[in-house]
Amino acid sequence: MSWTRAGLFAAFLFVVFILQEAAISKINFPISGFSLYLAVLLGLMSLEDKFGAIVLGFIGGLILDFSPSSDSPFGKWALILTLVGYVFATNRESIGDFTERPGSFVIFISIGSALTLLVFLCFGVLLGENNGAFGTNMLTIFGNSLWTLLFAPILLPGLVKWRSITVNARERA
Protein backbone atom coordinates (compact mmCIF):
# COMPACT_ATOMS: atom_id res chain seq x y z
CA MET A 1 0.00 0.00 0.00
CA SER A 2 1.44 3.34 -1.10
CA TRP A 3 1.51 6.50 1.03
CA THR A 4 -0.95 8.14 -1.37
CA ARG A 5 -3.44 5.32 -0.96
CA ALA A 6 -3.03 5.33 2.81
CA GLY A 7 -3.74 9.08 2.80
CA LEU A 8 -6.77 8.65 0.56
CA PHE A 9 -8.14 5.91 2.80
CA ALA A 10 -7.54 8.04 5.90
CA ALA A 11 -9.48 10.95 4.34
CA PHE A 12 -12.28 8.62 3.26
CA LEU A 13 -12.51 7.01 6.71
CA PHE A 14 -12.52 10.44 8.35
CA VAL A 15 -15.54 11.45 6.25
CA VAL A 16 -17.32 8.21 7.24
CA PHE A 17 -16.37 8.89 10.88
CA ILE A 18 -18.00 12.35 10.71
CA LEU A 19 -21.07 10.83 9.08
CA GLN A 20 -21.23 8.23 11.86
CA GLU A 21 -20.81 10.72 14.70
CA ALA A 22 -23.06 13.43 13.28
CA ALA A 23 -25.80 11.53 11.48
CA ILE A 24 -25.98 7.75 11.97
CA SER A 25 -25.77 7.99 15.75
CA LYS A 26 -28.82 10.30 15.69
CA ILE A 27 -31.03 7.48 14.41
CA ASN A 28 -32.62 5.33 17.11
CA PHE A 29 -32.19 1.87 15.60
CA PRO A 30 -34.22 -0.90 17.28
CA ILE A 31 -32.24 -3.28 19.53
CA SER A 32 -29.05 -1.25 19.28
CA GLY A 33 -27.20 1.27 17.13
CA PHE A 34 -25.43 0.61 13.85
CA SER A 35 -21.77 1.45 13.34
CA LEU A 36 -21.40 2.41 9.71
CA TYR A 37 -17.77 3.25 10.40
CA LEU A 38 -16.89 -0.26 11.57
CA ALA A 39 -18.79 -1.82 8.67
CA VAL A 40 -16.96 0.36 6.10
CA LEU A 41 -13.56 -0.16 7.74
CA LEU A 42 -13.95 -3.93 7.99
CA GLY A 43 -15.26 -3.98 4.40
CA LEU A 44 -12.21 -2.11 3.14
CA MET A 45 -9.86 -4.33 5.19
CA SER A 46 -11.41 -7.46 3.75
CA LEU A 47 -10.60 -6.27 0.21
CA GLU A 48 -6.92 -5.63 1.03
CA ASP A 49 -3.90 -7.89 1.32
CA LYS A 50 -2.33 -8.55 4.73
CA PHE A 51 -0.07 -5.48 4.65
CA GLY A 52 -2.90 -3.18 3.55
CA ALA A 53 -5.35 -4.58 6.12
CA ILE A 54 -2.92 -3.96 8.97
CA VAL A 55 -2.23 -0.36 7.84
CA LEU A 56 -5.95 0.29 7.35
CA GLY A 57 -6.74 -1.18 10.76
CA PHE A 58 -4.23 1.11 12.45
CA ILE A 59 -5.37 4.24 10.58
CA GLY A 60 -9.03 3.40 11.11
CA GLY A 61 -8.43 2.72 14.79
CA LEU A 62 -6.59 6.00 15.32
CA ILE A 63 -9.49 7.91 13.75
CA LEU A 64 -11.98 6.07 15.97
CA ASP A 65 -9.83 6.96 18.99
CA PHE A 66 -10.67 10.61 18.27
CA SER A 67 -14.35 9.96 19.01
CA PRO A 68 -15.38 12.64 21.55
CA SER A 69 -17.87 10.30 23.20
CA SER A 70 -15.20 7.68 23.88
CA ASP A 71 -13.91 7.16 27.41
CA SER A 72 -11.28 4.62 26.47
CA PRO A 73 -7.56 5.37 26.48
CA PHE A 74 -6.25 6.86 23.25
CA GLY A 75 -4.77 4.10 21.11
CA LYS A 76 -7.08 1.32 22.27
CA TRP A 77 -9.03 1.19 19.02
CA ALA A 78 -5.80 1.44 17.02
CA LEU A 79 -4.41 -1.59 18.85
CA ILE A 80 -7.59 -3.64 18.47
CA LEU A 81 -8.20 -2.82 14.82
CA THR A 82 -4.56 -3.47 13.89
CA LEU A 83 -4.93 -6.93 15.40
CA VAL A 84 -8.32 -7.42 13.75
CA GLY A 85 -6.81 -6.33 10.41
CA TYR A 86 -4.14 -9.00 10.71
CA VAL A 87 -6.60 -11.71 11.71
CA PHE A 88 -9.00 -10.57 8.98
CA ALA A 89 -6.40 -10.68 6.24
CA THR A 90 -5.07 -14.06 7.39
CA ASN A 91 -8.53 -15.65 7.32
CA ARG A 92 -9.59 -13.82 4.18
CA GLU A 93 -6.84 -15.48 2.17
CA SER A 94 -8.51 -18.85 2.73
CA ILE A 95 -11.89 -17.57 1.48
CA GLY A 96 -10.68 -15.98 -1.75
CA ASP A 97 -12.00 -12.99 -3.69
CA PHE A 98 -14.98 -11.38 -1.96
CA THR A 99 -16.13 -9.53 -5.05
CA GLU A 100 -17.24 -12.86 -6.48
CA ARG A 101 -18.88 -13.99 -3.23
CA PRO A 102 -21.00 -11.15 -1.84
CA GLY A 103 -22.77 -13.52 0.58
CA SER A 104 -19.49 -14.49 2.22
CA PHE A 105 -18.51 -10.82 2.34
CA VAL A 106 -21.67 -9.85 4.22
CA ILE A 107 -21.38 -12.67 6.75
CA PHE A 108 -17.65 -12.06 7.18
CA ILE A 109 -18.19 -8.34 7.87
CA SER A 110 -21.08 -8.99 10.24
CA ILE A 111 -19.20 -11.58 12.30
CA GLY A 112 -16.08 -9.41 12.11
CA SER A 113 -17.88 -6.41 13.56
CA ALA A 114 -19.28 -8.52 16.42
CA LEU A 115 -15.84 -9.96 17.17
CA THR A 116 -14.24 -6.52 17.03
CA LEU A 117 -16.69 -5.13 19.58
CA LEU A 118 -16.22 -8.24 21.73
CA VAL A 119 -12.43 -7.82 21.66
CA PHE A 120 -12.94 -4.12 22.52
CA LEU A 121 -14.99 -5.12 25.58
CA CYS A 122 -12.56 -7.84 26.66
CA PHE A 123 -9.62 -5.48 26.31
CA GLY A 124 -11.57 -2.90 28.33
CA VAL A 125 -11.96 -5.47 31.11
CA LEU A 126 -8.19 -6.11 31.02
CA LEU A 127 -7.59 -2.37 31.40
CA GLY A 128 -10.00 -2.24 34.35
CA GLU A 129 -12.74 -0.28 32.57
CA ASN A 130 -16.35 -0.56 33.66
CA ASN A 131 -18.30 -1.79 30.66
CA GLY A 132 -21.71 -2.11 32.34
CA ALA A 133 -24.20 -4.93 32.29
CA PHE A 134 -23.18 -8.04 30.34
CA GLY A 135 -26.64 -8.49 28.84
CA THR A 136 -26.82 -4.91 27.56
CA ASN A 137 -23.38 -5.22 25.96
CA MET A 138 -24.30 -8.49 24.28
CA LEU A 139 -27.47 -6.88 22.98
CA THR A 140 -25.44 -3.96 21.61
CA ILE A 141 -23.08 -6.35 19.82
CA PHE A 142 -25.95 -8.45 18.49
CA GLY A 143 -27.87 -5.36 17.28
CA ASN A 144 -24.81 -3.92 15.59
CA SER A 145 -24.08 -7.23 13.81
CA LEU A 146 -27.67 -7.51 12.69
CA TRP A 147 -27.67 -4.02 11.17
CA THR A 148 -24.26 -4.67 9.61
CA LEU A 149 -25.68 -7.85 8.06
CA LEU A 150 -28.54 -5.82 6.57
CA PHE A 151 -26.53 -2.82 5.37
CA ALA A 152 -23.30 -4.53 4.22
CA PRO A 153 -24.75 -5.63 0.83
CA ILE A 154 -25.44 -1.97 0.04
CA LEU A 155 -21.90 -1.02 0.98
CA LEU A 156 -20.05 -3.68 -1.03
CA PRO A 157 -20.37 -2.16 -4.55
CA GLY A 158 -19.30 1.27 -3.27
CA LEU A 159 -16.29 -0.13 -1.43
CA VAL A 160 -15.17 -2.20 -4.44
CA LYS A 161 -15.51 0.90 -6.64
CA TRP A 162 -13.55 3.02 -4.18
CA ARG A 163 -10.77 0.42 -4.02
CA SER A 164 -10.53 0.17 -7.81
CA ILE A 165 -10.26 3.96 -8.06
CA THR A 166 -7.48 4.23 -5.48
CA VAL A 167 -5.41 1.22 -6.47
CA ASN A 168 -2.63 2.01 -8.96
CA ALA A 169 -1.45 -0.08 -11.87
CA ARG A 170 1.55 -1.52 -10.03
CA GLU A 171 -0.57 -2.64 -7.09
CA ARG A 172 -3.22 -4.01 -9.45
CA ALA A 173 -0.59 -6.18 -11.07
Binding site: I18, Q20, E21, A22, A23, S25, K26, I27, N28, F29, P30, S32, G33, F34, S35, Y37, L38, D49, K50, F51, I54, V55, G57, F58, G61, L64, D65, F66, S67, P68, S69, S70, D71, S72, P73, F74, G75, K76, A78, L79, T82, L83, Y86, A89, L117, F120, L121, G124, L127, N130, N131, G132, A133, T136, N137, T140, G143, N144
Partner: protein
Protein backbone atom coordinates in the same frame (compact mmCIF):
# COMPACT_ATOMS: atom_id res chain seq x y z
CA UNK B 1 8.70 -13.67 -2.35
CA UNK B 2 5.66 -14.75 -0.33
CA UNK B 3 7.82 -15.37 2.73
CA UNK B 4 9.35 -11.90 2.34
CA UNK B 5 5.86 -10.36 2.11
CA UNK B 6 4.78 -12.23 5.24
CA UNK B 7 7.85 -11.07 7.15
CA UNK B 8 7.20 -7.49 6.06
CA UNK B 9 3.59 -7.75 7.28
CA UNK B 10 4.63 -9.24 10.60
CA UNK B 11 7.24 -6.53 11.13
CA UNK B 12 4.65 -3.84 10.35
CA UNK B 13 2.15 -5.53 12.70
CA UNK B 14 4.66 -5.51 15.56
CA UNK B 15 5.61 -1.85 14.92
CA UNK B 16 1.97 -0.70 14.84
CA UNK B 17 1.01 -2.75 17.90
CA UNK B 18 3.92 -1.30 19.85
CA UNK B 19 2.90 2.22 18.71
CA UNK B 20 -0.68 1.64 19.85
CA UNK B 21 0.48 0.23 23.19
CA UNK B 22 2.77 3.25 23.58
CA UNK B 23 -0.19 5.61 22.99
CA UNK B 24 -2.32 3.69 25.52
CA UNK B 25 0.48 3.82 28.09
CA UNK B 26 0.90 7.58 27.59
CA UNK B 27 -2.83 8.09 28.01
CA UNK B 28 -3.07 5.92 31.12
CA UNK B 29 -0.08 7.73 32.63
CA UNK B 30 -1.98 11.00 32.39
CA UNK B 31 -0.39 12.57 29.31
CA UNK B 32 -3.57 13.95 27.84
CA UNK B 33 -3.25 13.24 24.13
CA UNK B 34 -6.84 12.03 24.09
CA UNK B 35 -8.35 14.97 25.97
CA UNK B 36 -6.91 17.60 23.64
CA UNK B 37 -7.45 15.67 20.41
CA UNK B 38 -11.00 14.65 21.32
CA UNK B 39 -11.79 18.19 22.37
CA UNK B 40 -10.50 19.44 18.99
CA UNK B 41 -12.60 16.81 17.20
CA UNK B 42 -15.65 17.88 19.19
CA UNK B 43 -15.07 21.53 18.27
CA UNK B 44 -14.93 20.49 14.63
CA UNK B 45 -17.89 18.12 14.87
CA UNK B 46 -20.30 20.37 16.79
CA UNK B 47 -21.39 22.56 13.82
CA UNK B 48 -21.73 19.46 11.61
CA UNK B 49 -23.78 17.70 14.29
CA UNK B 50 -25.96 20.80 14.64
CA UNK B 51 -26.62 20.78 10.90
CA UNK B 52 -27.42 17.07 10.83
CA UNK B 53 -29.55 17.43 13.97
CA UNK B 54 -31.94 19.76 12.14
CA UNK B 55 -32.07 17.36 9.20
CA UNK B 56 -32.43 14.13 11.22
CA UNK B 57 -34.82 15.42 13.88
CA UNK B 58 -37.96 14.19 12.05
CA UNK B 59 -36.47 10.86 10.91
CA UNK B 60 -34.42 9.96 14.00
CA UNK B 61 -37.27 7.93 15.47
CA UNK B 62 -38.28 6.36 12.15
CA UNK B 63 -37.61 2.77 13.24
CA UNK B 64 -39.47 3.03 16.56
CA UNK B 65 -42.39 4.64 14.74
CA UNK B 66 -42.47 1.73 12.27
CA UNK B 67 -42.34 -0.77 15.17
CA UNK B 68 -45.41 0.79 16.78
CA UNK B 69 -47.34 1.03 13.53
CA UNK B 70 -49.46 -2.08 14.11
CA UNK B 71 -50.34 -1.05 17.65
CA UNK B 72 -51.41 2.37 16.51
CA UNK B 73 -53.77 1.07 13.84
CA UNK B 74 -56.72 0.95 16.22
CA UNK B 75 -56.25 4.61 17.07
CA UNK B 76 -56.17 5.78 13.46
CA UNK B 77 -59.91 6.52 13.27
CA UNK B 78 -59.82 8.64 16.41
CA UNK B 79 -56.65 10.35 15.31
CA UNK B 80 -58.09 11.23 11.91
CA UNK B 81 -60.94 13.10 13.61
CA UNK B 82 -58.51 14.78 15.96
CA UNK B 83 -56.20 15.58 13.09
CA UNK B 84 -58.94 17.48 11.29
CA UNK B 85 -59.36 19.70 14.33
CA UNK B 86 -55.65 20.11 14.85
CA UNK B 87 -55.02 21.12 11.25
CA UNK B 88 -56.98 24.28 11.87
CA UNK B 89 -55.12 25.06 15.04
CA UNK B 90 -51.61 23.95 14.14
CA UNK B 91 -49.35 26.90 13.45
CA UNK B 92 -46.17 25.98 15.19
CA UNK B 93 -43.99 23.18 13.87
CA UNK B 94 -44.64 19.98 15.81
CA UNK B 95 -40.97 19.39 16.48
CA UNK B 96 -40.46 22.90 17.85
CA UNK B 97 -43.63 22.60 19.87
CA UNK B 98 -42.38 19.39 21.48
CA UNK B 99 -39.11 21.06 22.35
CA UNK B 100 -40.97 24.01 23.84
CA UNK B 101 -42.97 21.65 26.06
CA UNK B 102 -39.79 19.99 27.24
CA UNK B 103 -38.18 23.39 27.79
CA UNK B 104 -41.19 24.56 29.78
CA UNK B 105 -41.03 21.42 31.91
CA UNK B 106 -37.34 21.72 32.62
CA UNK B 107 -37.58 25.44 33.43
CA UNK B 108 -40.50 24.68 35.72
CA UNK B 109 -38.41 22.10 37.58
CA UNK B 110 -35.44 24.48 37.78
CA UNK B 111 -37.68 27.30 38.99
CA UNK B 112 -39.22 25.16 41.75
CA UNK B 113 -35.76 24.13 42.90
CA UNK B 114 -34.34 27.66 42.68
CA UNK B 115 -31.58 26.66 40.28
CA UNK B 116 -30.07 28.94 37.64
CA UNK B 117 -29.87 27.05 34.38
CA UNK B 118 -28.66 27.27 30.81
CA UNK B 119 -30.94 25.43 28.41
CA UNK B 120 -29.58 23.60 25.39
CA UNK B 121 -30.67 21.44 22.49
CA UNK B 122 -29.39 17.87 22.15
CA UNK B 123 -27.47 17.77 18.87
CA UNK B 124 -25.78 14.38 19.03
CA UNK B 125 -25.67 11.03 20.76
CA UNK B 126 -22.74 8.81 21.67
CA UNK B 127 -21.59 6.43 18.98
CA UNK B 128 -22.79 2.81 19.15
CA UNK B 129 -19.23 1.57 18.97
CA UNK B 130 -17.99 3.27 22.15
CA UNK B 131 -20.32 1.59 24.70
CA UNK B 132 -20.51 4.93 26.56
CA UNK B 133 -23.85 6.66 26.96
CA UNK B 134 -23.38 10.31 26.12
CA UNK B 135 -25.15 13.18 24.39
CA UNK B 136 -23.82 16.36 22.83
CA UNK B 137 -25.55 19.66 23.60
CA UNK B 138 -25.29 22.98 21.77
CA UNK B 139 -24.23 25.03 24.78
CA UNK B 140 -20.59 25.42 25.79
CA UNK B 141 -18.18 27.50 27.82
CA UNK B 142 -19.39 30.69 26.07
CA UNK B 143 -22.82 30.07 27.61
CA UNK B 144 -21.37 29.45 31.07
CA UNK B 145 -21.31 25.67 30.93
CA UNK B 146 -18.41 24.06 32.76
CA UNK B 147 -17.22 20.53 33.39
CA UNK B 148 -18.98 18.61 36.21
CA UNK B 149 -22.22 20.58 36.09
CA UNK B 150 -25.52 18.76 36.63
CA UNK B 151 -27.77 18.33 33.58
CA UNK B 152 -31.54 17.96 33.98
CA UNK B 153 -34.67 17.61 31.91
CA UNK B 154 -38.30 18.14 32.89
CA UNK B 155 -38.34 14.90 34.92
CA UNK B 156 -35.08 15.14 36.83
CA UNK B 157 -31.39 14.35 36.52
CA UNK B 158 -30.12 13.38 33.08
CA UNK B 159 -26.36 13.33 33.61
CA UNK B 160 -23.23 15.39 34.16
CA UNK B 161 -21.15 17.55 31.82
CA UNK B 162 -18.10 15.50 30.87
CA UNK B 163 -16.22 17.92 28.61
CA UNK B 164 -16.81 21.39 27.22
CA UNK B 165 -15.78 23.29 24.12
CA UNK B 166 -16.67 26.87 23.22
CA UNK B 167 -20.07 26.12 21.73
CA UNK B 168 -20.86 22.53 22.74
CA UNK B 169 -20.53 20.09 25.58
CA UNK B 170 -20.61 16.33 26.03
CA UNK B 171 -22.87 15.03 28.78
CA UNK B 172 -22.35 11.61 30.29
CA UNK B 173 -25.81 10.14 30.86
CA UNK B 174 -27.06 8.56 34.07
CA UNK B 175 -27.40 5.25 32.26
CA UNK B 176 -23.66 5.05 31.52
CA UNK B 177 -22.13 2.05 33.35
CA UNK B 178 -19.49 4.31 34.93
CA UNK B 179 -22.10 6.71 36.34
CA UNK B 180 -22.41 6.86 40.16
CA UNK B 181 -24.58 9.25 42.16
CA UNK B 182 -25.26 9.59 45.86
CA UNK B 183 -29.01 9.53 46.53
CA UNK B 184 -31.36 9.71 49.50
CA UNK B 185 -34.82 8.25 49.81
CA UNK B 186 -37.43 10.99 50.10
CA UNK B 187 -39.08 10.85 53.52
CA UNK B 188 -36.80 8.41 55.35
CA UNK B 189 -33.64 10.24 54.17
CA UNK B 190 -31.81 6.90 53.97
CA UNK B 191 -28.65 7.35 51.91
CA UNK B 192 -27.40 5.12 49.11
CA UNK B 193 -25.50 4.98 45.83
CA UNK B 194 -27.19 4.64 42.46
CA UNK B 195 -25.25 2.82 39.75
CA UNK B 196 -25.80 3.16 35.98
CA UNK B 197 -26.46 -0.12 34.17
CA UNK B 198 -26.49 0.85 30.50
CA UNK B 199 -30.30 1.20 30.31
CA UNK B 200 -33.10 3.08 32.08
CA UNK B 201 -32.83 0.63 35.00
CA UNK B 202 -30.42 1.39 37.81
CA UNK B 203 -29.14 -0.39 40.88
CA UNK B 204 -29.48 1.22 44.30
CA UNK B 205 -27.14 0.17 47.11
CA UNK B 206 -27.95 1.48 50.57
CA UNK B 207 -25.02 2.58 52.73
CA UNK B 208 -26.79 2.04 56.04
CA UNK B 209 -27.11 -1.69 56.92
CA UNK B 210 -30.23 -0.90 58.96
CA UNK B 211 -31.85 1.09 56.17
CA UNK B 212 -34.89 -0.25 54.34
CA UNK B 213 -36.28 0.35 50.87
CA UNK B 214 -39.90 0.09 49.77
CA UNK B 215 -41.39 -0.30 46.33
CA UNK B 216 -42.22 3.14 44.93
CA UNK B 217 -39.77 5.07 47.13
CA UNK B 218 -38.69 8.29 45.40
CA UNK B 219 -34.96 8.96 45.16
CA UNK B 220 -33.42 12.42 45.21
CA UNK B 221 -29.85 13.50 44.58
CA UNK B 222 -27.75 13.85 47.72
CA UNK B 223 -25.54 16.62 46.36
CA UNK B 224 -21.77 17.08 46.22
CA UNK B 225 -19.19 19.47 47.67
CA UNK B 226 -19.72 22.93 46.14
CA UNK B 227 -22.63 21.41 44.20
CA UNK B 228 -20.29 19.84 41.62
CA UNK B 229 -21.01 17.49 39.98
CA UNK B 230 -24.43 17.10 41.67
CA UNK B 231 -26.77 19.63 43.19
CA UNK B 232 -28.98 18.31 45.99
CA UNK B 233 -32.69 17.61 45.89
CA UNK B 234 -33.18 16.68 42.22
CA UNK B 235 -35.52 13.78 41.34
CA UNK B 236 -33.52 10.74 40.21
CA UNK B 237 -35.90 7.77 40.03
CA UNK B 238 -38.26 5.51 41.91
CA UNK B 239 -37.74 2.02 43.35
CA UNK B 240 -39.27 -0.61 41.09
CA UNK B 241 -37.99 -3.82 42.70
CA UNK B 242 -36.52 -4.54 46.13
CA UNK B 243 -33.98 -7.34 46.47
CA UNK B 244 -34.84 -9.18 49.70
CA UNK B 245 -31.96 -11.68 49.55
CA UNK B 246 -29.87 -11.74 52.72
CA UNK B 247 -26.53 -12.30 51.00
CA UNK B 248 -25.55 -8.61 50.91
CA UNK B 249 -24.62 -6.49 53.91
CA UNK B 250 -26.92 -3.68 52.83
CA UNK B 251 -30.17 -3.77 50.93
CA UNK B 252 -30.20 -3.30 47.16
CA UNK B 253 -33.00 -2.43 44.76
CA UNK B 254 -33.74 -1.82 41.10
CA UNK B 255 -34.66 1.73 40.22
CA UNK B 256 -36.45 3.19 37.22
CA UNK B 257 -35.18 6.64 36.30
CA UNK B 258 -37.64 9.52 36.09
CA UNK B 259 -35.94 10.97 33.01
CA UNK B 260 -36.51 9.14 29.73
CA UNK B 261 -33.02 9.22 28.26
CA UNK B 262 -34.18 7.89 24.90
CA UNK B 263 -36.13 11.00 23.97
CA UNK B 264 -33.99 13.91 25.06
CA UNK B 265 -34.65 17.00 22.97
CA UNK B 266 -34.00 19.89 25.29
CA UNK B 267 -32.03 19.80 28.54
CA UNK B 268 -30.79 22.36 31.04
CA UNK B 269 -27.39 22.66 32.67
CA UNK B 270 -27.49 23.88 36.27
CA UNK B 271 -24.94 26.70 36.47
CA UNK B 272 -25.82 27.90 39.97
CA UNK B 273 -27.41 25.74 42.65
CA UNK B 274 -30.18 26.89 44.96
CA UNK B 275 -29.14 28.80 48.08
CA UNK B 276 -31.06 26.33 50.20
CA UNK B 277 -31.44 22.58 49.72
CA UNK B 278 -34.95 22.10 48.27
CA UNK B 279 -35.27 18.96 50.48
CA UNK B 280 -38.15 16.79 49.26
CA UNK B 281 -40.06 19.54 47.47
CA UNK B 282 -39.16 18.30 43.97
CA UNK B 283 -40.46 14.75 44.43
CA UNK B 284 -42.74 14.14 41.43
CA UNK B 285 -46.40 14.07 42.42
CA UNK B 286 -48.25 11.15 40.79
CA UNK B 287 -51.30 12.01 38.67
CA UNK B 288 -54.47 12.01 40.79
CA UNK B 289 -56.71 8.97 40.31
CA UNK B 290 -59.88 9.84 38.40
CA UNK B 291 -63.05 8.48 40.00
CA UNK B 292 -66.13 8.18 37.77
CA UNK B 293 -69.56 7.83 39.34
CA UNK B 294 -72.22 6.16 37.19
CA UNK B 295 -75.86 6.62 38.23
CA UNK B 296 -78.82 4.95 36.48
CA UNK B 297 -81.81 7.22 35.69
CA UNK B 298 -85.04 5.95 34.11
CA UNK B 299 -85.44 7.01 30.47
CA UNK B 300 -88.63 8.99 29.55
CA UNK B 301 -89.92 6.19 27.25
CA UNK B 302 -90.04 3.66 30.08
CA UNK B 303 -91.77 5.94 32.61
CA UNK B 304 -94.82 3.67 32.57
CA UNK B 305 -92.82 0.65 33.58
CA UNK B 306 -90.87 1.69 36.66
CA UNK B 307 -90.10 -1.91 37.59
CA UNK B 308 -87.78 -2.25 34.53
CA UNK B 309 -85.86 1.00 34.11
CA UNK B 310 -83.39 1.16 31.24
CA UNK B 311 -80.17 2.47 32.60
CA UNK B 312 -78.92 5.69 31.07
CA UNK B 313 -75.50 6.25 32.50
CA UNK B 314 -74.33 9.75 33.23
CA UNK B 315 -70.84 10.33 34.38
CA UNK B 316 -69.42 12.91 36.66
CA UNK B 317 -65.71 13.33 36.59
CA UNK B 318 -63.99 13.98 39.83
CA UNK B 319 -60.32 14.33 40.52
Amino acid sequence: MAASGNNRSRLLLVILLVTALFLITLDLRGINIAKNSRSATQTFLAPVQRGFSDFFSPVGNFFSDVKNFGRAKAQITDLEKENAKLKNQLVVNADVKGQLTKLKGVLNLAGRGGYKVVSARVIGQGSASTFSQTITIDAGSIDGVQKDMTVINESGIVGVVKSVTGSSAIVILMSDPTFRIGVRIAGTQTVGILLGQGSNRYTLQLLDPAGTIKFGDALLSLGSDNNHPFVPGLPVGSVSFVDHSNSALTQTASVTGYANLNSLGVVSVITTAAKQDPKDSLVPVPDPIKTIYVTATPSPSSSGAPSNPSPSPTSKGKK
